[in-house]
């Protein structure tokens, strides 16, 4: 198992996390994954990478620094993403019962190690 996969597995132990993927920011392809059954990793990767890319442009236009963490809240859960430098994005899908605060801390820690 790669170091990245081990980090993702650890992240997936946080309550409510359904899975996590490490994504190539440029093309939205999966680099490593740890997913529960029923979570479409390729869709998560592609959609999250695209969203992060658009947000980078918006924050740049606002004169702000790069996004370091984002949470997309929806009725059925939350998508969490932490860019790891400019090349990679760490993404997690969480259910409505997730401990988002803990997941955020874990993700920022993982992102720091992967940057």
């Amino acid at each position: 198992m790669t170091a990245a996969a081990e980090l993702l597995d650890r992240l997936s132990t946080v309550r409510g996390i359904r899975g996590s993927v490490l994504v190539s920011a440029g093309d939205g392809l999966i680099v490593a994954e740890s997913l529960m059954t029923g979570v479409d990793g390729r869709a998560v990767a592609a959609l999250a990478a695209s969203l992060v890319s658009r947000l980078r442009r918006a924050t740049e236009s606002a004169g702000r620094r790069e996004p370091v963490f984002l949470q997309l809240h929806a009725a059925g859960g939350t998508v969490l993403a932490a860019p790891c430098g400019t090349e990679l994005v760490l993404v997690a899908v969480a259910g409505p019962d997730a401990n988002v605060g803990l997941a955020r801390l874990e993700m920022l820690g993982v992102a720091g190690r992967l940057t």
Binding site: A58, S61, G63, H73, A74, V93
Partner: protein, 308 residues
């Protein structure tokens, strides 16, 4: 072709309704391709004839091409649609100065300087105009705020017209501007939407689904007005957020929290057809930003209902 231009061209081809034409046109203009830029701007203008920034883009390109009368008309139209559009004020100030109408130039440059106090080029131009000096023309009209510093925008060099030769005669199309300078500076809409909320004119930005500003305002950390350029990009962010939530089976999205290295941003949806961006510094925790955004959403919803 740079990667940026290639990317924006592809984005526009995939979605002809995208407001990315504003950035693409400006990028082409800055690369010294005014004809290609004008084609992009004209096409965008046919889709968004009521978008002030599209007229502003056309004006800048026309100015580059030396078509100053047409540029003047385009900037006047831009100000009819958005009396507070700073770049159009700069552009008209520039043209009036070129024509020797220093009083009109001063009015527009004074507004631009007031709205964008950090723009040293405008301040210097205003000083020149007020002093009635001739040798140094004011800085060229700047690009949209997202695209770079206005002072560096290339505009076809035109020798300044000495007042003694040109006299006070304005350009042919300058007979009266169709807006009130004083009304423009009041920004009554910005004040009204978020009345009573902290950040009503900076840090709260209400946008429609087409990426057009409905109210509020936003400045970057240097103090420049970035509301319109950010508004244009938010429409794309919103569509991507909705698509992500839907395709991952999470249902409708309700909010997007973004932590940057120097601030916290929260994007919410007061109504189905509007977006609200709340921006605060890092000293305000994200959970509080989200709560504040809720209150601002309610205010925006009330304002929208009252004005329907």
């Amino acid at each position: 072709m740079s990667d940026d231009i290639r990317g924006m061209t592809a984005e526009l081809a995939a979605d002809p309704d995208s407001l990315v034409f504003l950035e693409l046109g400006e990028a082409l203009r800055r690369r010294g391709q005014p004809d290609a830029a004008f084609k992009v701007a004209r096409t965008g203008l046919t889709r968004y004839p009521e978008l002030a920034r599209a007229h502003d883009l056309c004006a800048r390109i026309l100015c580059d091409r030396g078509e100053r009368d047409r540029a003047f008309d385009a900037w006047v139209k831009a100000l009819e649609l958005d009396p507070g559009l700073v770049s159009a004020h700069k552009g008209l100030g520039f043209l009036y100065y070129q024509a020797g109408d220093l009083a009109s130039a001063e009015r527009h440059l004074a507004y631009a300087g007031q709205a964008d106090p950090g723009d040293a080029g405008t301040a210097a131009a205003l000083e020149r105009v007020r002093a009635g000096r001739q040798p140094v023309p004011p800085s060229a009209p700047g690009p949209v705020a997202a695209s770079g510093p206005p002072a560096s925008a290339p505009v076809a060099p035109v020798a300044p017209v000495p007042e003694s030769e040109a006299g006070p005669e304005p350009l042919a199309a300058t007979a009266g501007l169709p807006f009130s300078f004083e009304e423009a500076s009041a920004s009554p809409v910005q004040d009204a939407v978020f009345a009573g909320l902290d950040g009503g004119t900076d840090g709260l930005l209400l946008v429609d689904s087409a990426g057009l500003r409905l109210g509020g305002g936003l400045r970057n950390p240097e103090g420049a007005d970035v509301a319109d350029s950010v508004a244009a990009l938010l429409a794309g962010v919103s569509k991507e957020a909705a698509r992500t939530a839907r395709l991952l089976g999470l249902g409708e999205w309700g909010g997007l929290a973004v932590e940057c290295g120097d601030g916290n941003l929260f994007l919410s949806t007061p109504t189905e057809s509007t977006l609200l961006l709340t921006v605060r510094g890092l000293d305000i925790p994200m959970a509080r930003v989200a709560r504040f955004a809720e209150r601002a959403s309610l205010a925006a919803r009330d304002w929208l209902e009252r004005n329907e």
